[in-house]
């Protein structure tokens, strides 16, 4: 973990209620896709956690959905603004166990961290497949970005305005993959784990007090006892979870 001041390079709307910020600053604390940062929003007491979408030396991006006071304020942040962030938080996805054909499943605001993961898997010469779900076509993002990487993408929307109608599981087959990675609403994660025939990892969300292990605010009960989503997670192995 490292406390940094990041400079906003870009803050652009990429879909309905959905924005992407590119920061410049020290990214040395990030080590794996699926890690997150915790961002101070002036005027609000708690920091806001966001999964890192992509990073390279000196640059990092997040994609966020406007859902409340903090993300609302963030959507007004201008290029050139400095923000205080805790970086390199949590334990990210493990790309070692993916096997040759991992499936990446994302729902809504759970899609962003899959971008970096996908690129790393490709760099490791694996053949990832992506399945994403959104509320409607207007909220969808990254489907083309994934396709441009040469990755097969299936899409579902709840209202059927894009891709299959229904949940993301309705748009993909889980039996063809060697491993899965999932990030999205808790109901989706449960369904994915239940439907899966392979091993896999899921990224959990929990309301956080600190984001770096101090407050026990984000505990989830696992097969190996209570674990902190912010420190032992947010990514957990399917087999660890109790639900």
């Amino acid at each position: 973990m490292k406390q940094c001041v990041y400079l906003i390079e870009e803050n652009e709307q990429i879909a309905q209620n959905t924005y992407r910020i590119v920061f410049s600053g020290d990214t040395s604390a990030f080590t794996a896709p699926g890690q997150f940062l915790n961002l101070e929003v002036s005027g609000l007491y708690l920091r806001r956690p966001f999964s890192v979408c992509e990073w390279e030396k000196g640059h990092v991006s997040i994609v966020y959905k406007v859902v409340g006071a903090g993300t609302q304020k963030m959507s007004t942040f201008k290029r050139g603004r400095e923000v205080d962030v805790l970086t390199g938080l949590g334990k990210g996805f493990d790309t070692e166990n993916s096997g040759p054909r991992p499936l990446l499943i994302g729902g809504g605001a759970g899609v962003p961290p899959l971008m970096m993961l996908c690129k790393m898997l490709l760099a490791q010469k694996k053949q990832p497949t992506v399945a994403v779900g959104f509320g409607s076509a207007g909220e969808a993002f990254f489907q083309d970005a994934f396709r441009n990487l040469g990755v097969p993408v299936s899409i579902a929307t709840m209202d059927g305005s894009l891709g299959a109608k229904g949940m993301v599981l309705d748009a993909c087959r889980m039996d063809a993959c060697t491993y899965f990675y999932a990030c999205g609403p808790i109901a989706m994660l449960k369904a994915v784990c239940a439907a899966s025939c392979s091993d896999g990892q899921v990224s959990l969300e929990e309301r956080m007090g600190c984001g770096f292990g101090a407050c026990m605010g984000c505990t989830v009960i696992t097969q190996r006892g209570p674990k902190r989503v912010c420190t032992e997670g947010p990514v957990f192995d399917k087999g660890e979870l109790v639900w």
Partner: protein, 303 residues
């Protein structure tokens, strides 16, 4: 040169800033960030006799200038704290720590104190009496002078270590509770624990916290904490540890002026992991701004 050293219940501290229980774990996460030997001390995560998984999540809710928590005393239990955490602490922290303990019966409090009594690194025992009394109808021990006194008496018999009772602010008359604890042999009092509060989620129309209510902390509670330190200072003779909303060196000075011998910094650690260190670093300049040479001269100076 200014003097920041204070003595709390017979134990010397390089400065009055103690990290508050529940916001500093067992110190390890912070020791990785900075050398925590700069602290006056730290109070370990609230410990109970048996291990506890705590409350279901969500356990955290945001408020204006503060937060609610309903962690529910998640901890590994006293034996693991003694066998695993304290030895680890010994590797990165070289001063006395404060052991924050909770029980659901008078006997539990006494038993934990007994087990801690021989632990060399434990300087003070801090009794968190904001826990529900399972034998007393579920009301928190700290909400009546009678049950607060019972806990203090039992703990007093179980340990020779300096005993600090941590008071709940959710009472009509905190001085009455403070006096009852002092009468039963408390060596010091720390206050305040969190104010009972809640938030609702308009989307789900349900409480944000699964536990429904939670404890309010952060700058929002500072004026209430300060008032209580000021009142209790007038009612007892034992030293006080001021807690609640402290997030700057000026807050430390204000709390000491009201009557605190030392202070604890809680939620501030969560939003700024370096909060305690930053506050300690800023103290000498803040003291100079107000012509304070020796912090001890400040204690209770507003009375």
């Amino acid at each position: 040169m200014v003097n920041m050293a204070v003595i709390l219940c017979g134990i010397a501290m390089p400065n009055p800033v103690i990290a508050a229980s529940g916001t500093f774990g067992f110190g390890e996460d912070f020791a990785r960030l900075y050398d925590i030997n700069c602290l006056g001390s730290f109070s370990m995560k609230g410990t109970t006799l048996s291990a506890r998984e705590g409350n279901p999540t969500p356990r955290i809710a945001e408020c204006a200038s503060g937060m609610l928590n309903a962690v529910g005393l998640q901890n590994p239990g006293i034996d693991k704290v003694i066998s695993e955490e304290l030895p680890k602490i010994g590797e990165f922290y070289h001063r006395p720590v404060m052991a924050n303990v909770s029980g659901f019966s008078v006997d539990e409090y006494a038993e934990i104190c007994r087990r801690l009594d021989g632990q060399a690194q434990v300087g003070w025992i801090e009794l968190n009496i904001s826990c529900p009394n399972v034998h007393g109808g579920g009301l928190a021990f700290g909400t009546s002078p009678h049950s607060a006194a019972q806990v203090t008496r039992a703990a007093r018999r179980a340990t020779v270590k300096p005993l600090i009772v941590k008071l709940s602010p959710n009472v009509t008359d905190i001085v009455e509770v403070a006096r009852a604890c002092e009468a039963e042999g408390a060596d010091g009092l720390s206050l305040i624990n969190t104010l009972l509060g809640m938030r609702l989620d308009l989307k789900t129309r349900r409480p944000v916290l699964r536990n429904i209510t939670g404890g309010l902390s952060g700058p929002a509670v500072f004026p209430v904490a300060l008032r209580m330190i000021y009142q209790v200072y007038q009612g007892v003779r034992v030293p006080l540890v001021g807690i609640g909303g402290i997030s700057s060196a000026k807050d430390v000075l204000e709390m000491m002026l009201a009557g605190a011998t030392a202070v604890q910094v809680g939620s501030a650690n969560l939003v700024n992991p370096y909060a305690c260190r930053d506050i300690i670093k800023a103290l000498p300049d803040a003291m100079a701004d107000y012509g304070i040479k020796n912090l001890n001269d400040l204690i209770g100076g507003a009375h």
